[in-house]
Symmetry: none
Subunit: 204 residues, 4 copies
């Protein structure tokens, strides 16, 4: 339990709960994330939580807005005008890798939110989710116009494939971390490089 009173002055309860949920998520992962842990951590009553959020998925949607915004920021920061040719696409993929390394719980959350049964009523979620998708689609189209990426790849399919496959590789590495590094003496970075190399070659 943290000292709630200090925070109250500077932050609204809503934000405070989102922040608490954020921390609980990072410490426990999505599967072990519970409302009980959040209210315990914040030292507030359960009723208080439900004054601000309709459901568990509701807070998670808000946290995932932070997660997606942060990821989008990683994407944007990876793009530089002085990078020519396929470099920007490489940089984009590597930035999503960096994000998954820096914020593994966020990464897990984004996957969790994609469950079909998840019907978020939180406006911001759909918005930022579309924004991220849009960013990648635009990137692909742009590279196709410049003649850098093959024009026969549908940008929408291409985006989902890019996203799905890179997330898969990262998830795989995360899961097999111990196995890969200790047993096989492989490096995650080396593996990511191989992936980028393979997928980049496939689209150019």
């Amino acid at each position: 339990m943290i000292d709630t009173k200090k925070q109250l002055r500077s932050t609204s309860r809503h934000t405070q709960i989102v922040n608490g949920a954020d921390i609980v998520l990072k410490e426990n992962g999505v599967q072990q994330f519970t409302i009980d842990k959040v209210v315990d951590y914040l030292g507030i009553a359960k009723g208080t939580f439900y004054k601000y959020f309709e459901s568990k998925d509701d807070v998670l949607a808000e946290v995932s807005i932070k997660a997606l915004s942060l990821m989008l920021n990683y994407f944007k920061l990876s793009q530089r005008e002085d990078q020519v040719g396929i470099e920007n696409t490489k940089a984009f993929i590597l930035s999503s890798y960096a994000f998954s390394l820096d914020y593994p719980a966020y990464f897990e959350l984004i996957i969790y939110m994609e469950r079909p049964e998840f019907k978020s009523e939180v406006d911001g979620y759909k918005k930022i989710s579309d924004k991220v998708t849009g960013f990648v689609i635009d990137h692909l189209k742009n590279q196709q116009e410049k003649g850098i990426i093959r024009k026969d790849i549908d940008p929408v399919y291409g985006t989902f494939v890019l996203w799905g496959s890179s997330m898969g590789v990262m998830q795989f590495m995360e899961a097999k971390k111990v196995f890969i590094e200790d047993v096989k003496h492989l490096s995650q970075n080396e593996m990511m490089k191989t992936y980028v190399d393979m997928i980049i070659n496939g689209v150019t």
Copy 2:
């Protein structure tokens, strides 16, 4: 509940429980898989279950051995001598796609087992996991020797990339099923084709 007595003579309790868990898994999926359902199905006592398995994850690890074996079989059956060039690699990727469609619960299980917190003590799991990995590594090496796949790709990294990315794309499609088909009017098959095209181009 099935008739346990007949099985008892020919099969050991251990195997019998794994088989029961297998069927329960296929019928319910990983999230709805419970020990209660397993012992109900088998008509055995709960205590008996815990005599043979330390935990829920323990049986699931054993079931996943069956799942991985079956997947390996799909891989093997996809390879034909009369297929030339890159066709065998394509066939290999598509066979893992077919597997995920034919046995969604197994596919779900394999992903479930990859959680970092999952620490299986079951010997056989590592064995079959290595076997599957070995198969793909051999495949890659083979294709490289024939000059079909680029020689600069490390076969071990390449294997993990191939595996991780294709599973990622499939998982992504499964999760976004409704979204992809209803909202974007995309086809899962078309998306898989795009993936195969992109990754194949990247390795040849």
Copy 3:
């Protein structure tokens, strides 16, 4: 939320809250009636509510005054000078049936208020309750004087019997609605007719 300010000038807070509770009751029924909904609807603070009312049951008691007043009005409107003989008594019973159809939530409330554990301190409730009772007693006495209703029935007992039994029949029909209409293919109206016929025969 409604605009509270306008009402404030003309109506007292007390009345205003009762009116709000009234509307919330009609829209939600007794079981779903919550203080939260009332203060939300009125746009006032919860503390304000508890300044004017000691408990949830307290407001409901006040709302039930409105309900009983309305029911009394139904009773009165059912009586016409040109109706001769037992017709006015029939009309009286049918008017209480009409009331229960027109204002199901009020009807529900009246039954809810009759729980033994409900101890209303609200003055007005007893008053209107007596008024309704008085009306029926007077009606019975009147009919007895005219020789329409048997003189050996005590008008006070008769009133409670009339009231209790007709409410019971209506409550029974409401509860068994599905059962009566779907399973037994009976009609609510037909059942009410049977009741009126039986009870009217019993008193004449």
Copy 4:
């Protein structure tokens, strides 16, 4: 909490829980009946309860079987061969009155179970419920054949009217107990007599 061990030897857990629920019901009434109270009373774990019953409504259904059986018994015991004419019908109505006096919580429960949303999966409930209804219908038919009750009354409607109205009168008396006896100095018995007189006159 009672001493559980003694009971265990003679009674099965199932029966024991039903008995506990029975007592909790009688002490608290339907609205305040909770699983927590039942397990607290029995001194068992919540999980134990749910091993034997699927839901709260499930136990209540079982308890109501006891209630309905008991009520049916009251009905049957009221019928005597040496009673002639309308006396048996009177006795029947008075027996349901006696039942509601002896077991007010059971009476409440029977009303509670009639909620349309209540979908009991418990076989016995429908059975005994139908039995009770059947008993009354048969009684009416019988009296009609003997020429004691008017033949133009449909026995099914008549049953429901009889049941609904008598339950209504009893519920009304229960609710207004204090009011009737203290304020109006009326007697419940006198009121019941009036009801029986009125309804009997209406049907003969």
